[in-house]
């Protein structure tokens, strides 16, 4: 489990240590008060307020709104679509990234360096830019279609405004993070461990499943959780590239609030999304707390 510091390992300078614990406590809390306060007022409070608001109709406790939510076919179709998109995109991104990370782990040289650089490229591209770029690239008469026609393929059907569009964008965006996380995990598997297995006669698939994957479990889970949470909450990509129906939840929320002017329904949608995200997030945090070296 990588730790936060490098050389110092988190030990404070002695003149700081020497400051009485009381004074340290005071100073520490004072210094973190503002950012924590910001977090509290802008995340905790609005969320709590929103959750309570969704359960109150005219001052009475009621879960009617949630009944309405879960009984509305259109809403549920959107929700299912969102979760499916999250699952499929995350798995695809993980699989691709894992392949890339594997390649990088066991190769060296110019090609590997270039691939490494390319796999991190999406880190420098914001959502809106890649969404727009994919419209121009994968859209009708886009560069991709032009390239295909150069090699004689004329039956290109653009994924623009279909679910494939956002799917491709999500996979594109979510290559770097798992590549980084999985590379870090893979680098902890020594060459000798793999060589020993080969020496004993194991072939590639077995090495993959019995030696590499088990050691990567944690990294894979964390990467999956992060990607999934990011996708189900995404707005820009499905807005620019996705079909008008079904909608992903964030797009649906924006339309509900901004166009339909129905804040109450929008809040219910938001709470449901938050709950789903928290469950996944809970796994994420639990996995990290297990290796409690992160925060010491």
């Amino acid at each position: 489990m990588p730790d936060l510091g490098t050389t110092s390992g988190g030990v404070a300078p002695r003149h700081i240590q020497r400051t009485g614990l009381g004074l340290q406590a005071l100073a520490g809390l004072a210094l973190v008060a503002l950012p924590v306060g910001l977090l509290g007022t802008l995340i905790l409070w609005p969320t709590v307020r929103m959750v309570t608001a969704t359960f109150l109709i005219d001052g009475n406790l009621s879960s009617d709104r949630y009944f309405a939510f879960f009984n509305d076919t259109y809403t549920m179709a959107n929700l299912r679509y969102t979760l499916e998109m999250g699952l499929v995109s995350a798995l695809a991104a993980l699989a691709l990234s894992f392949g890339i990370a594997l390649y990088l782990r066991f190769s060296a040289g110019r090609i590997a360096t270039l691939i490494h650089g390319l796999s991190l490229f999406p880190l420098f591209v914001p959502s809106i830019i890649i969404s727009y770029a994919l419209v121009r690239f994968l859209g009708p008469n886009g560069l991709f279609q032009l390239l295909l026609e150069q090699v004689g393929f004329t039956h290109y059907r653009t994924p623009y405004l279909t679910p494939v569009g956002p799917f491709l964008a999500f996979v594109w965006e979510n290559i770097p993070l798992p590549v980084l996380v999985l590379s870090a995990g893979l680098s902890q598997v020594s060459d000798h461990a793999v060589e020993a297995a080969r020496d004993l006669g194991a072939k590639a698939p077995r090495i993959l499943f019995e030696i590499l994957l088990p050691q990567m479990r944690r990294s894979l889970l964390i990467a999956f959780a992060l990607i999934f949470m990011g996708i189900i909450g995404a707005f820009t990509v499905p807005y620019m590239l996705g079909p008008p129906a079904p909608e992903m939840m964030s797009v649906f929320m924006q339309r509900t609030l901004g166009n339909l002017h129905d804040p109450e329904a929008a809040q219910v949608q938001a709470v449901v999304l938050m709950v789903i995200s928290s469950i996944v997030g809970g796994f994420y945090i639990a996995t990290m707390v297990k290796s409690s070296e992160v925060v010491r």
Partner: protein, 353 residues
């Protein structure tokens, strides 16, 4: 100049320093010597003020500094890892203490130049720490301390990260510099050879306690505890039972007028001399060290005995020698019981001397 009284420091139940006391006179170079974990670095940090002690006092020139913060004490410390700041060049590193004190720019420049000249690094003023070798970096660290004219210079194993040759050279430079400036210095090391060469006096520490304080020669000749005797220089150690004022030493019985009980008998390799009444031992190995010859012998009791002799007296392999100690230190329970000069072999049991 500097007085330490009954300093105690405990970390989470383990005492790091126990009741340490000693004095340092002005202009003295005192080494804190001991194995890893003996508390010497902790004690140095307590003197500097970076670490607070649990009890005891630190006084400089008669003023009690125990409650004073490190940045207000008239001490300056050279760290093991040189700790130069990578975002400043050499001159800026050196001038830092002066800038903090608010001196005018011209004066800072002049003093910086002077002290860089002192350590022989005038040409390096504009270099960055990353461009310096280990020895140069440590010299800059030293200059950085010297320029603020501290009353006490503290050095925490400053040369241990450098190679042996460099270490020896820097040692000489330091000794010369320190003498010239008449600067009171406390130098922490685990290398007893370094301590012997540098120190005016050595404070030997073990397990958090001060074992003995004294000039190198005195510590070598007259160690007052078993720990000091074994840590400084080489010793032949023989554990034996003393009864009726007689004790067995490698197969020969010696007279020793001390109370009955178990004793550790220690003798320096060069303090052995050939005597027909001595303990018999067979030469197992002759090692030519250059200036002297070291001879490893196996005694009748099967123990290893080391003897250092001049080159021309080197014996042949396999020869049986009989040796007696000229100076024999006797310790019980770690404390010195007595020092025998040329102890005589006892007569057969029952006879009087």
């Amino acid at each position: 100049m500097l007085q330490i009284d009954s300093i105690t420091k405990t970390y989470q139940g383990t005492p790091a320093v126990r009741d340490a006391s000693f004095r340092v006179a002005r202009g003295e170079l005192v080494c804190l010597l001991g194995p890893s974990g003996c508390g010497k670095s902790t004690l140095l940090r307590i003197i500097s003020g970076l670490t607070a002690c649990d009890s005891g006092t630190v006084s400089i020139e008669g003023v009690d500094m125990t409650a004073t913060q490190a940045n207000r004490r008239p001490t300056a410390m050279v760290f093991q890892s040189h700790a130069l700041w990578s975002h400043m060049n050499v001159a800026q590193n050196v001038g830092f203490g002066l800038r903090v004190r608010g001196l005018p720019k011209a004066e800072i420049a002049a003093k910086t130049a002077a002290v860089l000249d002192l350590v022989g690094l005038s040409a390096f003023a504009k270099r960055l720490p990353a461009e310096l070798s280990g020895g140069q970096a440590q010299r800059v660290a030293l200059a950085r301390c010297l320029v603020v004219e501290p009353k006490v210079l503290l050095m925490d194993e400053p040369f241990s990260a450098l190679d042996a040759h460099l270490r020896k050279g820097l040692r000489e430079e330091l000794k010369a510099l320190q003498g010239r400036l008449d600067l009171t210095t406390i130098f922490v090391t685990h290398d007893q050879e370094e301590a012997m060469e540098l120190a005016d006096r050595i404070v030997v520490m073990q397990g958090g306690r001060v074992e003995q304080v004294g000039p190198p020669g005195a510590l070598y000749q007259n160690p007052s505890t078993l720990g000091v005797a074994q840590f400084i220089g080489a010793m032949n150690t023989c554990t034996s039972n003393l009864r009726h004022s007689a004790v067995d030493w490698y197969g020969v019985t010696l007279r020793m007028p001390l109370p009955d009980g178990e004793v550790a008998l220690l003798c320096r390799p060069e303090d052995l001399s050939i005597d027909p009444n001595g303990a018999a031992a067979r030469v197992a190995r002759v090692i030519d060290l250059g200036p002297v010859t070291k001879v490893n012998l196996i005694t009748e009791t099967g123990d290893l005995l080391t003897w250092t002799c001049p080159r021309d007296q080197a014996p042949d392999l396999g020869r049986v020698m009989t040796l007696l100690p000229r100076r024999l230190h006797a310790f019980r329970g770690g404390a010195l019981m007595g020092l025998m000069e040329a102890p005589l072999p006892a007569q057969a049991q029952g006879a009087t001397a």
